[in-house]
C-alpha cells in the first residue's frame, strides 16, 4: 500500500463515519422524543454530513479518478465503505441512539483535535473546524447519558442495556492496521493510542456520573474500516443511494 492509497482509505474512514452516523440521525427527524430533540438531532446530523462532504471531496481529489463527494457517497457499495461498525448500528430507542452517539463523540473529538495538527494542511483545516463541532457533540451526548443513566429506574436500565449491547463495537475505533502505520510515518494519521486514553478516561467519568456500570471487557467486533460490515449497512445505503442509482445521469 503506497502513501496515496493509504491517504484515500484514511479519508474514506473519516468521511464515511460522519456520513453514515449523520444519515442514521436524519432517520429521527419527525420521530424524536421532543421538539428540542428534533432540533438537536438535526444539528448534529447537519454538522456530520457537512464534515463528510469535506472529507469525501478531499478523498476524491487524492484518488485523482474524477470522483466527487456525491460519487463517493452514492455510487459505492457496502464493501467499499470504510466506516466503523458502531455508526451503522440501528437507531433503536433514544437511549440506544444516545449511547451510540456518545461512544462515537468521545472518540471523534480527540481524534479531530489530534488531526488539527496534521502535517497535511487540508486534513488539518477540515479537522480544526470539525473538532469545534465535535466538542459540542460530546458535551451534548455526555449530558444525555448522565440524564438518562441517573434519571428514572426505567431509563437507567434501558441505558445500561444500550451500553452493554454497543460495547463490542468500541474496540474497532482504536484498532491499527496498515493504513495507520503507513500514514503515521509521515505524521498524517492520528495517534490512536493517545485518542484511546482520552476516550477511556472520558467514558469512565461519564458512566460514573450516570451511575452506570462500565460493560465487561471482552470480545470485540471489527471489520468496518476494511469494508467488512454488519448486515445493517446495506439497508442504509439502499435507502440513501436510491435516487442517484435509479437515475444514473440525472443532475439534481
Amino acid at each position: 500500500m503506497n502513501r496515496q492509497q493509504a491517504l484515500f482509505e484514511y479519508l474514506l474512514r473519516l468521511g464515511d463515519n460522519a456520513l453514515i452516523l449523520g444519515q442514521r440521525l436524519t432517520e429521527w427527524i419527525g420521530h424524536a422524543p421532543a421538539l428540542e430533540e428534533e432540533m438537536g438531532s438535526a444539528n448534529i446530523a447537519l454538522d456530520l454530513i457537512g464534515q463528510a462532504r469535506g472529507w469525501l471531496a478531499y478523498a476524491g481529489t487524492v484518488e485523482g479518478a474524477g470522483r466527487d463527494e456525491d460519487d463517493l457517497a452514492f455510487q459505492r457499495d457496502v464493501m467499499n465503505f470504510r466506516n466503523v461498525l458502531l455508526v451503522e448500528q440501528p437507531n433503536g430507542h433514544y437511549g440506544d441512539t444516545i449511547a451510540r452517539q456518545y461512544l462515537f463523540d468521545a472518540f471523534h473529538y480527540p481524534l479531530l483535535t489530534a488531526l488539527s495538527a496534521c502535517t497535511d494542511q487540508s486534513i488539518a483545516g477540515i479537522a480544526a473546524k470539525a473538532s469545534k463541532e465535535a466538542a459540542y457533540h460530546r458535551r451534548r451526548s455526555a449530558e444525555w447519558v448522565i440524564r438518562l443513566g441517573d434519571g428514572t429506574a426505567e431509563s437507567h436500565a434501558k441505558l445500561q442495556q444500550s451500553f452493554d449491547t454497543l460495547w463490542p463495537y468500541t474496540g474497532e475505533l482504536f484498532a491499527l492496521d496498515e493504513v495507520d502505520h503507513t500514514l503515521r510515518r509521515t505524521g498524517v494519521a492520528a495517534d490512536l493510542t493517545a485518542v484511546r486514553r482520552e476516550w477511556h478516561e472520558h467514558v469512565t467519568r461519564t458512566l460514573a456520573g450516570a451511575t452506570l456500570v462500565p460493560p465487561q471487557e471482552g470480545w470485540m467486533q471489527s471489520g468496518g474500516k476494511q469494508g467488512r460490515h454488519s448486515e445493517q449497512l446495506g439497508y442504509v445505503l439502499a435507502e440513501m443511494q436510491f435516487l442517484p442509482r435509479a437515475y444514473r445521469d440525472a443532475r439534481w
Partner: protein, 330 residues
C-alpha cells in the same frame, strides 16, 4: 392556511357603544396599532381565538415536518440533503416558537399536543397528502412554503405581540424554504425527460391542495370580520389566494410546467388570473380527517410522543434530583 378555519366564538359583531369599558379600551389600542402583550387585559374570546389559531399553526409546522422528512434519508445529493435537513429543522423551530407564543396565553404545550393526538385539534389540510417522489419536496417548498409566506407576512403586523414577533422570525426562514423548493424544481425541469415528468406530476398533485391552504371563501363570515377587527387576520382568504395564483403562474411558466387548471386565464380587466372552481368537498373531507394521510400523520406523531415519554420523564426526574442536590449543598 396553516390555520384554515378558526372559530372566533363570536356570533354577532357589536358596535363600539355596545362594548364594556375595558373592551373598548382594548379595541382602541388595537385600532391605534398598539400591540397587546401577555400581561394586558384581553377579552376571553380574543384569547381563545388566538390560542386556537396559534396552536393550529404550531401543529401544522410539526405535522408538516413529516411529508418532507419522508425524503430526508433519500435526498439525491449531500448538498440537497443538508438544505432539506436545515429546512425541516427550521419547521421544528417554528413549532417551538409558536407553542411558546400560545403558552403566553395560558395554554400548555403538553395539552395542545395531546389535543392534536386525540384528533381534536386541526392543522393544515395540505400535510395530509403524500410525498411520492423527490419532486414533491420541490413542489412543497415552492408552493406550500410560498403560500405560507403569503399568508404569514401580514401576520407579522398582527395585534398580539408574541405572535407577531414569532411571525417575523418565521417569515425570514420561509422565504429561504420557498427558494430551496423552487431551486429543486428548476433543476428537475432543466434535467432529463423523466425528471421533468416527475416535476409535472408533483405540480399536478400539489396545485389544488395548495389553493385550498387559504381556506374556504370567508369574506362574508362573522369570524373573519371579528378577526379582522382584532387584527389577527388582515386579508380575506380569497384575497390571499388570488395573490398566490398571480405569483405562481409566471413561476410555473418559467419552469415550462403546466398548471392543472384549464380555466386558468389572465383577466385583462382585473389584471389578475381567473382560475377554476376549487373542490371544497375534498377540502372539508381532508380537514375532518378523511384525507390520504391523516390517520398516518397523527399515528406517527402519537407514536413518537408515546415512545419518547420515558426520555422526557427521565430528563424531568434528573432535573429534580439536581435541584435537590443543589439545595442540600447550599
Amino acid at each position: 392556511m396553516y390555520s384554515q378555519f378558526v372559530d372566533t366564538g363570536v356570533e354577532r359583531m357589536r358596535c363600539a357603544e355596545e362594548l364594556p369599558e375595558l373592551e373598548r379600551a382594548f379595541q382602541d389600542k388595537i385600532d391605534s396599532d398598539i400591540k397587546i402583550e401577555p400581561k394586558d387585559w384581553m377579552p376571553e374570546a380574543y384569547r381563545q381565538t388566538l390560542v386556537r389559531q396559534i396552536s393550529q399553526h404550531a401543529h401544522s409546522e410539526i405535522v408538516g415536518m413529516l411529508p418532507e422528512g419522508n425524503w430526508l434519508t433519500r435526498a439525491p445529493s449531500l448538498r440537497r440533503k443538508l438544505i432539506l435537513l436545515a429546512k425541516v429543522q427550521d419547521e421544528a423551530g417554528h413549532g417551538l416558537y409558536l407553542y411558546s407564543a400560545a403558552e403566553t396565553l395560558g395554554a400548555s404545550r403538553e395539552a395542545l399536543i395531546e389535543a392534536l393526538h386525540a384528533g381534536k385539534a386541526k392543522y393544515s389540510s395540505i400535510f395530509n397528502y403524500p410525498t411520492l417522489s423527490w419532486a414533491d419536496v420541490g413542489a412543497i417548498g415552492w408552493l406550500v412554503d410560498g403560500a405560507a409566506l403569503i399568508n404569514q407576512i401580514p401576520l407579522c403586523r398582527c395585534s398580539y405581540g408574541p405572535y407577531a414577533r414569532a411571525m417575523v422570525r418565521i417569515c425570514k426562514e420561509e422565504s429561504f424554504h420557498q427558494r430551496q423548493g423552487y431551486e429543486i424544481m428548476l433543476a428537475l425541469c432543466a434535467g432529463s425527460a423523466v425528471q421533468k415528468r416527475m416535476a409535472q406530476d408533483a405540480l399536478d398533485r400539489w396545485w389544488w391542495p395548495s389553493l385550498m391552504m387559504f381556506g374556504p371563501p370567508d369574506a362574508e363570515s362573522i369570524h373573519t370580520q371579528q378577526a379582522m377587527r382584532w387584527k389577527i387576520k388582515r386579508h380575506t382568504n380569497d384575497e390571499l389566494r388570488q395573490k398566490f395564483v398571480d405569483q405562481s403562474v409566471p413561476q410555473a411558466d418559467y419552469l415550462e410546467l403546466t398548471l392543472p387548471d384549464p380555466a386558468l386565464k389572465r383577466n385583462e380587466q382585473t389584471g389578475h388570473y381567473d382560475f377554476g372552481a376549487i373542490d371544497w368537498s375534498e377540502f372539508w373531507s381532508v380537514l375532518k380527517g378523511d384525507g390520504p394521510c391523516n390517520r398516518q400523520r397523527i399515528a406517527t406523531r402519537r407514536q413518537a410522543y408515546d415512545e419518547g415519554r420515558w426520555v422526557r420523564e427521565a430528563a424531568l426526574a434528573y432535573g429534580a434530583k439536581q435541584d435537590r442536590r443543589r439545595a442540600e449543598f447550599s
